[in-house]
């Protein structure tokens, strides 16, 4: 096996595994600029062209590609969706109602209690014998 056998189109274009064609083209442009600045870089323009061709034409379903080393193998390991001050959650628009909601909550509680009792009672009745008329 040679170095050519180990070429990875995504790595060559500086992209995580599974990047799409548009990202590949952007990666290609960026990598070419780098080659112009650094002619001694380990990849050549030919490599970049090969990599772009691979992603655009050959790897139509990255999820099924098993001859391309996957980096990252599990994107979830590095992608944190934790929310905090620097990655804030979306803002609900300000409420238009007042905050005097005690009455509504009491109505909800009564309805919830009624619903819960009815649910339990219905299940008990269904579980027991059906209604039998007087004999």
């Amino acid at each position: 096996m040679t170095d050519i056998d180990r070429r990875n189109p995504y790595i060559i274009l500086g992209l995580p595994f599974g990047s799409n064609e548009e990202e590949a083209r952007a990666g290609f442009a960026k990598a070419r600029r780098r080659l112009r600045r650094d002619p001694d870089a380990q990849y050549t323009t030919e490599d970049l062209t090969w990599a772009l061709h691979q992603i655009e034409q050959l790897i139509t379903h990255p999820e099924l590609a098993i001859d391309v080393y996957r980096v990252p193998a599990d994107p979830g390991a590095i992608e944190s969706d934790a929310r905090g001050v620097f990655h804030p959650a979306s803002h609900p628009v300000a409420r238009t109602t007042d905050t005097e909601s005690a009455e509504e909550w009491e109505q909800l509680r009564a309805a919830a209690l009624s619903n819960a009792v009815r649910r339990v009672l219905t299940e008990r009745l269904e579980a027991s014998a059906q209604y039998i008329p007087y004999q």
Partner: protein
């Protein structure tokens, strides 16, 4: 029988209901008249409605009569027949029977004449209504009954409550207050009517509802009934139940429950501090019916939609799921905070606006870059941002900044990892993501170092696996396959990851085909979907075929036959019975037919496949069987049904070419010729040139074999040869030249076999002739009955004639002078034999 409607046939047909069978059957007819009938007449009547399973005799009248006046008058008629006024009925049970029947017949007025009390009539009306499912009337009558009597009214009320939409007024509920608490229905009614439940009576409530005090349902009912005043909410049990209900699940962890929790219950549970998972329609219901309460929940971040719904009002979406709102809707609502947040997340450069939201996010953007000069513009509701600013000032994480999951990576980028607490849970992912960035920057060495730092700083399996994957790739890129594989195999310990398995297969391919096949076999067995499994099998097979030559050399050395690795075979077997595309199924069966013949030959192994009736299955199972003729027949059958199957044509071509190659490579081996002959004989559809060549080759091989054994070829061989020979003229010029040469050789071979076989037959004929004529030695010629001798020699004569004819035909196949001469010599021998058999006397003279 009693209660069933009958049709009585006489001069005219009448319908009636049998209300009694003893002492004499009594029938109430449609006219309303009740009459006794004889048993024999009843026996001949036709049942038109069988109500015999319905309890209560007269009650059935109503069922049939649908409360018609005429049936009620029938009832009166029957009473008259009995000679009794209703009020004079003997027993209480008779009076009740009468009243029930009257009520059932819609004649409450008649029921009132029965002598029963007014309450009892109400009671009967309540039950009657319940029997018909008329809950409104049932509840009305139940509530009209005295509160301290008729306890079964509670069951009726409870039932009506459970099936209807009732809520009792205070006065109505008061009616139940005098009842003992040990009545399930009463308690249920009280709770449903939101009456206060005495805290001390919960044990009774639970008992009557069939709940134990420890039940989750009990806890939930108690919590709802107690309202704000109440249950222990900080326990683990409370947390579990509130969370369960808020997300739409029943309080009970187990059990068979058919009814989901209601929206109101979800809302109440969410208010305890848990996320309410609302369907869009639920959010809309709450928005319409209890908007303040919904707003309370939204303000506390306790509402999530289970799915996006485009039909909800923008105002509602902006409250419960602002992430999903399009930009134009945000602008329309002037939702400046969300607009600014999105701009911040996109990292848009440039001037910010003048709203509070703009000031905040402009300051946050600056803070992210280490600029704390605008910290005064930050909206800091919980003090975290203040701690972040302090951390910048102190060059280390302090206070609440340590708790926020997003501060670590920002500050470590600005301050540097050496000043950040080393044990932070964020360190592992941070090193990992920088390592990957280095890898994408083609710096394998730096990526490897960062991967190691990540491993040192994380105990999280996902992070560690990814760091090992990164380490392995860096080694792999430098050609260090062994350490790369060690790292990947470590990563594969624990939870299975298809991507890591695929990577292991790639690295192993550079090391050892067996190892690659093992990893790809694992992937083919354990991958989360059939497509990936199929891809793994194909890749493994590709690796195998690429290395086949090397492996075959090893095979010669150790003398073992070559086999696919067991794991790969298992994977292929598994895929062969999965719901995969027909084309994939074909590929899997083709592999099995070549490498797992015994397993595939057993038809039961693939009977579970959705493609069980396919041509593919028939062909490849036949191919795996012991007899190649089965395979050839399966191909022939498939092609005759559908000649457009390219894969099958390819199978056929492979068979034809293989047989042809074997025949011409070693004509003395008659086996391939027999199968070729089978293929031609059963009419395997094939190219005319192939047909001529295969037939010719088969004839050559079979003829040579027969010639060596001095046996005459069967007539079918000759027929097929002649068919092939006659087809030559239809071939193209090039094909004809090649075919003619083969047919010539085949003709000579066939002629030679015929000559050799007949030469032996001639020898045997002469021997038979000599044995017969030797018996005549010593007998005077005149005493021999030549007619009888000639008769005895007749079979030899006929055999000779037939042979002469066949040899004559064989001459037409021969293109070699010497062969023709040899045939002539044999034919001449038969001629002589036939002459002697015709005229034996000439043999002696």
């Amino acid at each position: 029988m009693v209660g069933s409607a009958y049709r009585f046939a006489g001069l005219r047909k009448r319908v009636g209901v049998v209300v009694r069978v003893s002492p004499k059957p009594m029938v109430v007819f449609g006219s309303g008249k009740a009459r006794t009938v004889s048993n024999s007449r009843l026996g001949k009547a036709e049942i038109v409605l069988d109500l015999s399973s319905v309890p209560s005799e007269l009650f059935r009248l109503q069922t049939v009569a649908e409360r018609s006046e005429s049936w009620a008058s029938g009832l009166a008629g029957w009473l008259e027949d009995q000679g009794t006024e209703s009020s004079q009925l003997d027993s209480q049970s008779d009076r009740r029977l009468y009243a029930r029947s009257a009520i059932a017949a819609g004649r409450v007025d008649m029921a009132k004449d029965s002598g029963l009390s007014q309450e009892e009539i109400l009671w009967l009306q309540m039950h009657s209504a319940m029997s018909y499912g008329d809950s409104d009337v049932a509840v009305e009558k139940a509530l009209a009954l005295p509160p301290d009597r008729f306890p079964d009214k509670v069951a009726v009320l409870a039932r009506a409550l459970s099936v209807g939409d009732y809520s009792l007024t205070g006065d109505e509920a008061d009616l139940l207050d005098g009842w003992p608490s040990s009545m399930t229905g009463v308690l249920a009614l009280r709770m449903a009517a939101a009456l206060p439940i005495d805290e001390n009576r919960w044990d009774v409530v639970c008992q009557e509802l069939g709940l134990s005090p420890e039940d989750d349902e009990t806890f939930w009912l108690h919590a709802l009934a107690a309202g704000e005043s109440s249950v222990e909410e900080s326990s683990e049990k409370a947390a579990r139940i509130f969370e369960s209900v808020a997300s739409g699940n029943r309080p009970a962890a187990s059990g068979q429950h058919s009814e989901p929790v209601s929206l109101e219950e979800k809302a109440i549970a969410a208010r305890k501090g848990y996320i309410a998972l609302l369907a869009p329609n639920e959010a809309l219901d709450l928005w319409r019916s209890a908007r303040r309460a919904l707003d309370d929940l939204v303000d506390d971040f306790q509402v999530e939609l289970t799915e996006a719904e485009s039909d909800l009002p923008d105002e509602l979406v902006a409250r419960v799921n602002p992430d999903s709102l399009p930009q134009h809707a945000l602008e329309s609502l002037n939702h400046t905070w969300e607009i600014a947040r999105r701009r911040y997340e996109r990292g848009v450069e440039g001037e910010w606006g003048s709203t509070a939201a703009d000031f905040h996010y402009a300051a946050l953007t600056a803070l992210r870059k280490g600029d704390i000069s605008r910290a005064g513009d930050l909206e800091d509701s919980n003090g975290v941002l203040e701690a972040v600013v302090a951390s910048f000032e102190e060059q280390q994480l302090v206070g609440k900044a340590l708790d926020d999951p997003t501060t670590w990576s920002v500050l470590v980028d600005l301050i540097g990892p050496e000043d950040i607490p080393g044990q932070s849970e964020h360190a592992g992912p941070w090193y990992l993501s920088r390592g990957i960035a280095q890898l994408l920057d083609w710096d394998w060495s730096e990526a490897r170092d960062l991967a190691r730092e990540s491993l040192r700083n994380s105990n999280d399996e996902a992070v560690r696996d990814e760091a090992l994957n990164l380490l392995a790739f860096a080694d792999y890129q430098e050609g260090n396959y062994e350490p790369a594989m060690v790292a990947l195999e470590r990563a594969l310990e624990g939870d299975y990851t298809a991507a890591l398995q695929a990577n292991a297969g790639i690295v192993a391919e550079h090391m050892d085909p067996d190892r690659a096949a093992y990893h790809l076999g694992q992937l083919a067995t354990e991958a989360p979907n059939n497509d990936l499994r199929l891809a793994a099998v194909r890749r493994a097979f590709h690796i195998w075929t690429s290395n086949r030559q090397a492996w075959e050399e090893e095979e010669e050395e150790d003398g073992e036959s070559f086999e696919l690795p067991g794991g790969l075979i298992d994977a292929i077997r598994g895929l062969a019975v999965q719901d995969i595309e027909l084309e994939d199924f074909r590929d899997m069966l083709r592999l099995l037919a070549n490498f797992d013949r015994e397993w595939l030959a057993d038809e039961s192994h693939t009977s579970a496949s959705p493609h069980v009736t396919s041509v593919e299955r028939r062909v490849f199972v036949a191919k795996a069987s012991a007899d190649p003729a089965d395979y050839i027949e399966a191909i022939a059958s498939g092609l005759k049904r559908n000649s457009d199957l390219e894969w099958l044509a390819a199978e056929r071509d492979s068979v034809v070419n293989g047989l042809r190659s074997l025949i011409f490579k070693d004509p003395e081996n008659v086996g391939p010729a027999v199968y070729a002959f089978t293929a031609v004989d059963i009419g395997l559809p094939m190219d005319p040139f192939d047909l001529v060549v295969l037939t010719g080759g088969a004839v050559i091989s079979i003829s040579r074999s027969l010639a060596s054994e001095e046996q005459i070829p069967a007539e079918r061989v000759v027929e097929l040869f002649e068919q092939a020979r006659s087809s030559v003229g239809d071939l193209s010029d090039d094909e004809r030249n090649a075919a003619e040469e083969i047919i010539n050789i085949a003709g000579n071979s066939l002629a030679m076999a015929i000559a050799a076989g007949h030469e032996e037959q001639l020898r045997q004929g002469l021997q038979a002739f000599e044995r017969l004529t030797s018996q005549l030695n010593g007998i005077p010629m005149r005493r021999i009955n030549w007619t009888e001798v000639t008769k005895a020699l007749r079979p030899i004569h006929d055999m000779a004639s037939e042979s002469i004819s066949e040899l004559d035909r064989a001459k037409s196949y021969s293109s070699a002078t010497e062969l023709t001469q040899a045939i002539d010599n044999v034919a001449e021998g038969f001629n002589k034999l036939r002459r002697y058999a015709t005229n034996p006397r000439s043999f002696f003279s």
